[in-house]
């Protein structure tokens, strides 16, 4: 009985995994597009763009995602023009799209800060060397700045992606039956919250661990220059822990 219950719960929650991944993927994809725009605006050197990005980051990082989600889902529909515009209303009356919009807007604020930091961390010498070679600005960006910055942004970006996986659970509060919503429903039907939530927890943890492994692998592949060469690796012994 006990084992069967775990198995069936696990399976029922897993059936909602595609929906969770759908919210996750589109949230991240649109977030990346917005973040790129914001970073460009910030780096472009226009004062107005800079103020806008600062205000955007301040607002979206300073308030809980739940408030943003409620504001978009319940709040915006109060505007007449939203309800009368066919496109906006099609997006904003659907809880699924609302979650994706909220997640994308939220993650864009964090990501634009990550990208800004990464761009600033590109060693000046590399850019100067590219200039000395007579590279035009775009080539310089494409061949020097961007690859280095992407590599530098990767660790923080992977953290942000994991935060996004966790954020998909919020979709359940606006009635979407993704993994968290499904777990909630099973829990209400069976009154066995600990067992049900543990099953859901295991799935979320495995999902996040595999995302983390994937990013660690990409990071490893992208940084051969930071590892000591094979023969040197033998010589360096770890310093014994003194405490």
């Amino acid at each position: 009985m006990g084992f069967d219950f775990y198995l069936s719960t696990m399976w029922n929650v897993l059936k909602a995994l595609p929906l969770t991944l759908e919210i996750w993927f589109f949230g991240i994809a649109f977030g990346l597009i917005i973040a790129t725009g914001l970073t460009w605006l910030r780096a472009s050197g226009y004062k107005l763009g800079e103020y806008f990005t600062r205000a955007y980051v301040f607002v979206f990082r300073g308030s809980p995602l739940l408030v943003q989600l409620y504001l978009i889902y319940f709040g915006l529909s109060q505007f007449d023009f939203v309800r009368h515009s066919p496109i906006l209303w099609a997006i904003l009356r659907d809880p699924m799209y609302c979650t994706i919009v909220a997640m994308a807007l939220n993650t864009a604020a964090y990501e634009s800060e990550i990208f800004r930091g990464a761009l600033r961390a590109v060693p000046v010498g590399q850019i100067e060397a590219a200039k000395a070679f007579g590279m035009p600005a775009f080539t310089r960006f494409r061949l020097v700045t961007l690859p280095i910055a992407l590599r530098l942004a990767l660790p923080a970006y992977s953290t942000e992606i994991i935060l996004m996986t966790k954020a998909t659970a919020l979709a359940s509060v606006v009635t979407i039956m993704e993994m968290m919503g499904t777990a909630q429903k099973i829990q209400h039907d069976t009154f066995r919250p600990i067992e049900v939530l543990t099953c859901a927890g295991v799935i979320y943890l495995l999902l996040n661990l595999s995302i983390a492994r994937l990013f660690a692998w990409v990071e490893h592949r992208l940084s051969p220059h930071l590892r000591p060469p094979p023969e040197q690796r033998q010589l360096i012994k770890p310093v014994p822990e003194v405490l």
Binding site: S63, T168, M180, Q184, R192, I194, L209, V242
Partner: protein, 248 residues
């Protein structure tokens, strides 16, 4: 002009609603949010320092527990942990009460929502604080610890005079980040029925049908809370590192 009179209408309805009692309710909501955050941070500080210590332990078992704690509680959705503590707590309490016969077998003993919420947010906050403490401990100059050992200081003396003051100083910026995270996580415990800012805004939005107004207000109040804490933590940082800056 129409726009202006529209705006005037909006502002006056907002004023009326707030004066009709929702303003006071929202203020109470802020108080509860701050209470939840402070208590969770304290629970998190205790758990976080224990877990950080466990991660540096010689014993493999303790290290494993520490690692699992930070991995699990940073890797799970906050909502799930909150549900686990609230509904799971109810399940455990009901089971215990029914088996001891203090309630009848059809009654349910609910987990107190504040306790459940604070425990959940505190444990999440503890996982992040453990990492902050671990990082600050690693940043302490190894030579100082070796010098303290060479003087023959006992482990406790070393901790009290060398490790703790420096960890506190180095941890302040990281703790500031965790504090902001915890404020934002505290909004999630509205699902268990603690009347903090989010739930109050929710109730107000549902019963007055002015969701835009109340959710915007809630958002602004959260922004105020998070932005006020920045200068406070800056000040704390200056205070704890006062012996490391040159006098002007």
């Amino acid at each position: 002009m129409e726009f202006l009179s529209d705006l005037k209408d909006q502002v006056s309805t907002a004023y009326e609603l707030l004066a009709a009692g929702w303003g006071v309710q929202l203020l109470w909501g802020i108080a509860w949010t701050l209470a939840v955050t402070v208590v969770s941070m304290l629970i998190g500080a205790i758990l976080g320092s224990l877990v950080a210590a466990a991660k540096f332990s010689h014993r493999g078992g303790l290290r494993f527990i520490g690692e699992s704690y930070t991995t699990v509680f940073r890797g799970e959705p906050e909502l799930l942990i909150i549900y686990l503590f609230y509904y799971g707590g109810t399940q455990v309490l009901t089971g215990v009460a029914r088996s001891t016969g203090s309630i009848s077998s059809t009654d349910i003993l609910n987990m107190p929502s504040f306790l459940g919420g604070v425990l959940a947010v505190g444990i999440i906050s503890g996982a992040y604080q453990a990492e902050v403490f671990r990082g600050s401990f690693l940043a302490i100059h190894r030579g100082e610890l070796e010098a303290a050992r060479a003087y023959g200081m006992s482990a406790w003396l070393r901790f009290r005079l060398v490790v703790m003051p420096q960890v506190l100083r180095l941890a302040v910026p990281g703790l500031g980040n965790v504090w902001q995270l915890t404020i934002k996580d505290s909004a999630l415990i509205s699902v268990t029925g603690v009347a903090e800012l989010m739930l109050t805004a929710n109730k107000a939005a549902r019963s007055t049908h002015h969701s835009l107004l109340f959710y915007t207000l809630a958002g602004i109040l959260y922004l105020v809370m998070t932005s006020i804490s920045t200068p406070i933590f800056d000040k704390a940082e200056r205070y704890t590192s006062r012996s490391f800056t040159r006098p002007k």
